[in-house]
Symmetry: C2
Subunit: 482 residues, 2 copies
């Protein structure tokens, strides 16, 4: 992987920069000890690492503004970080960057059940947002697999999804407003309690901008009343393509389950060995969960059964108890752990039109055979968000490069059939070179010009998202100014 | 109303500009006859009128690009126009502008039922999009009251809503991609079949940008399977505040009706006199409609009945037949016509948090009394989108100014309680001076800088949205270049 070249002039000023940061930080911390700073050298894309210049851990929006003012004045790059769970290197530092870690900013600021919204600091973890409103009967819908650890600030940066997003939408559909600090320290409010404001939708452009436009410090989120009940069914098929075709038929019929999860045989076998959920012996299975009152659930499941019957399922197992529901979900929830037991894997993240599922599953199987690298599939099928896992041995020389090449080919296939390069993990450093598969030079230029408006010196998380050669003149421009 | 000063240099070049337009227009038309052009001098905000320099009526994206290239080269302002149904002056011309009318671009380009999407030209009317997929059992959800006439291009510009948006979201939630022509003639694709793409969400920023960033010529839209059935109930209350409190309770409980419509006594009386729908004699009523299979409908309505009972309704009338459903909707659908019989009115469009409904209805009644101007309320209550109608006599000198002052006060009240200046009509020319009630100078500057990126010479619909004194230096900049 090509790394951006750090600015030696900044490295030589490290002590002076850290002193200026310490002078403004207030209740937070500044870390410059290399051993302590090592905890921030990578995120969940741990194959790539780089220790930062320093780490600042603020506790308030005012401290974030003060830190950014210093970095702006000194022309020091800044990398915002939530919980560091990015699988795409979204919070990976460069050597000349200050990591701005928001983990200490995790307070609930306001809860308004009447208008169904909550306001939190950006470092609060996804699951603990639902936790704060659970007793009152509410929850926050988007649920990334990492929801126990990941921060809402990161969710906003990546526009994260999750199993429940088929019904409730992704982060951008549940975000009403943010407090954001621009790179020069200006504090702005975008959106508001009503979600849609007059004028340009700058909240929408900030959500999913991977921390390149500003540092979100507070967010107002939509919360929803918990459903009366939920029930999963497990449907087994004799081929992946048939399972994919059944997903397309369910979506086409207009049934709206909360979740449609897909697992193929390599995944089923691995989870059966790992967690013994008692899954049927089949080539692929779907877990379809519906929500509502008992009559609503019965109604939806009878419709799903009628659709599934057209695809000759080898098993249709409807949960009849909480214990059975738990076992149905057990395998799916332990799938990534189970795959980890089998060897190293790279988790891809692309989206495709649901109608293309059968075709894309077949093509991936052919590409896997041709490359001699096993690929397992476990993913949110209902919204076409695929997560092929390429299995390999990290200790065998050359394997990582072959895996990266196969991964890139699979993501290009997603784009070809009308999908896109990322569903919920973001582009980060991992996929920046693939952006040219999705966008023309003019597209990328337009996106970079919008970044120019918010961050004219390209100091914020600047070595991400765009191919390095495409953003080079802008990123290097900042040195001439400094 | 203050009007922007036309550029005399452009007016003197009218014949040359029209000749250049005619040379590139292909199958479309260019109108410069002042009598014919008069049809384009205003939109549905008909109190304000200004004949344009000329009108171009293209039939293809390529013709739109050619027209914009000419106008860009000549530095002529352009005002895009769909069906001209804007209530906020969004397609009102200036004297030095070419109106770019899209009404002839109304083709269906592609329908894909498997992935539930349709691609149309931007001049196609909202209702005829549903019409194109009706036989296959699908519909396009956002349904502005003007849906018989309004164009999808205008819906995208204003991020339009409608009665069904409580359940299905507004335009931005149902828009997957657009083909857009930039002011210099460049054709760009934003979004795509998957809706969410990597990189910046420029589709989101374009939706609701009131035609200031580019001219949308084609759109890919989400279509939905028609529900199994629908049933309305009519609930009468002895005060507007109680009706408002009941709406807040329904939303808080998490029931999701398709529509919650509100009418107060002035509206009920007017529609009873006009269309005789047989409404009860009460201070305010709600029409709540739910969708689904018969058991789903029964389940939801029993829950709504239980909630409404806490507010001591004077009537709870559940439809038992298609004929009764038609009569329940008849009054609501004829409300604007009925109000028009009573005198002149100005229709406001602001949004508020649903929890603030009782308080805002009370304050509007007080402000109406103080101003001596009757205000009737009929609106989409479920999503807090209010449409107060101020009744007046356009022939009485001074009345229009008093109405405008009261309207501005009511919209400022919406902003004060956490809402915003417009729900679905847009800012246009009508509310540009009120933008400072919602946004700081820095907010407006940020929005204008994003427009700078797309339209550096401020040629596209430029005398809208921002207060004229705020955008003056940018709009006048173009003359120095020309």
């Amino acid at each position: 992987m090509q790394m951006p070249v750090p600015d030696p002039a900044i490295l030589s000023r490290r002590a002076a920069i850290v002193a200026r940061l310490r002078a403004v930080i207030g209740g937070g911390d500044v870390i410059d000890d290399p051993v302590e700073a090592r905890a921030y050298e990578c995120d969940a894309l741990s194959a790539y690492r780089c220790p930062p210049l320093a780490v600042a851990l603020p506790t308030t929006t005012a401290e974030v503004a003060a830190i950014l003012q210093v970095c702006h004045a000194e022309r020091v790059p800044v990398v915002p970080r939530g919980a560091g769970t990015s699988l795409a290197g979204g919070s990976m530092p460069t050597a000349d960057a200050v990591v701005l870690g928001l983990a200490r900013m995790n307070a609930v600021l306001e809860v308004d059940y009447a208008d169904r919204q909550i306001r939190v600091q950006a470092g609060r973890t996804n699951l603990s947002i639902s936790g704060a409103v659970d007793e009152a009967g509410f929850f926050y819908a988007p649920d990334p697999s990492s929801q126990l650890a990941c921060a809402i600030g990161g969710n906003i940066g990546m526009n994260s999804g999750g199993a429940h997003c088929l019904k409730y939408g992704v982060t951008t559909n549940n975000l009403l407003g943010v407090t954001m600090v621009l790179m020069d320290g200006t504090v702005v409010e975008l959106g508001g309690p009503m979600g849609e404001a007059p004028g340009l939708d700058l909240l929408g452009v900030v959500c999913g901008a991977e921390g390149q436009l500003g540092v979100v410090t507070e967010a107002t989120l939509r919360i929803l009343p918990k459903p009366a009940g939920a029930r999963p069914v497990l449907i087994g098929f004799d081929s992946s393509e048939t399972a994919g075709a059944c997903v397309a038929a369910i979506i086409r019929a207009g049934v709206l389950p909360v979740a449609i999860e897909f697992m193929d045989r390599p995944c089923i076998t691995a989870t059966e060995n790992f967690a013994a959920p008692g899954y049927p012996d089949c080539e692929a299975l779907l877990i379809v969960e519906v929500e509502g009152t008992p009559p609503e659930i019965d109604e939806q499941l009878s419709l799903i059964r009628a659709i599934a019957d057209d695809f000759a399922p080898v098993e249709f197992r409807e949960s009849r108890s909480d214990e059975e529901s738990r076992r149905i979900w057990l395998g799916r929830k332990s799938a990534f752990g189970a795959m980890g037991q089998m060897g190293d894997y790279m988790c891809l993240d692309g989206t495709i039109p649901v109608s293309a599922l059968p075709q894309v599953l077949r093509r991936i199987a052919e590409m896997s055979d041709a490359a001699g690298l096993p690929v397992a599939n476990v993913f949110h099928a209902g919204d076409g968000n695929m997560h092929p896992l390429i299995i390999f041995d990290a200790n065998r020389p050359g394997d990582l490069e072959r895996v990266e090449a196969l991964g890139a080919d699979i993501l290009r296939l997603c784009v070809e059939v009308g999908g896109c390069l990322t569903g919920e993990h973001g582009v980060g450093v991992e996929k920046r070179d693939l952006m040219t598969a999705q966008f023309t030079d003019a597209d990328l230029e337009a996106q970079m010009r919008v970044k120019d408006v918010f961050d004219p010196h390209w100091l914020l998380n600047a070595a991400k998202v765009f191919p390095l050669h495409v953003s080079a003149s802008r990123r290097e421009g900042l040195r001439n100014v400094a």
